[in-house]
């Protein structure tokens, strides 16, 4: 059977293997929302204006992110160099957006005395995390499928 395996079949198998891997690397539907809830929750806790509560929220955020990432890593079952130039750009853009929202919330809440700013910012952080997460998935998938050998 293997002797009838043509060059076209071989190239198709390579493409098929890479496409399967790209699909597997894409995060499941719960992944980005979970990270979004953690990030949003962390910022929304600022509404309480309680340092101890915020410190606990940071701890919960760190542990929660670790658990969610570990579960997904366990599901995927591969280790890969995640941050190339494109992924780094997406990541930096996400961090900048999230920082901007947090700073704006601090300014509105503490300087302008606008209550509820942290709650709205938390919702924004959730949406930013989910949107950038899906963008990262798309970039990673394109990278795997475009690999040339």
């Amino acid at each position: 059977m293997e002797s009838e395996w043509t060059a076209n079949d071989g190239l198709a198998a390579v493409t098929g293997g890479r496409a399967w891997l790209a699909r597997r690397l894409v995060a499941p539907c719960w992944y980005h929302p979970c990270l979004g809830v953690l990030a949003g929750g962390l910022v929304a806790v600022g509404e309480g204006r309680n340092g101890t509560l915020f410190a606990w929220a940071v701890v919960c955020y760190s542990i929660g992110c670790g658990v969610v990432m570990w579960v997904n890593q366990h599901r995927v079952g591969v280790s890969i160099r995640y941050f190339d130039r494109a992924m780094t750009s997406v990541f930096i853009a996400q961090v900048l957006c999230m920082a901007l929202v947090a700073v704006a919330a601090c300014w509105l809440e503490f300087t302008r005395g606008l209550h509820g700013a942290f709650l709205v910012a938390g919702l924004c952080e959730f949406m930013i995390t989910v949107a950038f997460g899906h963008w990262s998935d798309r970039v990673l998938r394109q990278r795997i499928e475009a690999l040339q050998s």
Binding site: G10, L11, A13, V14, G17, R24, V76, G77, S79, S149
Partner: protein, 101 residues
Amino acid sequence: MIVARFDEVVHAPNRLKICAILSAVDTADFATVRDGLAVSDSVLSKHVALLQASGYVAVEKRFGGARRRTSLSLTSAGRRAFDEHVAALREITEGDARARK
């Protein structure tokens, strides 16, 4: 520069798929590669053993939690053999396409 070189060890369907998956990652779990090929553990073991004997695949066994996990990776020789084999396949298909014109 990649030189086109047909490799009988790599060319078998399942072994080519194994190399295609491993070439895109640093390491992959045995179970992940098995899922990708949709074969049984024993079939994958047989192919991995052959690739390992040829120096193309490195196998690492470690204990993670209650179960032992086996991870696979392409060696530099394996990566080169795979790249050269795919280049050879491309040459063949491009040659066929030119011959048909």
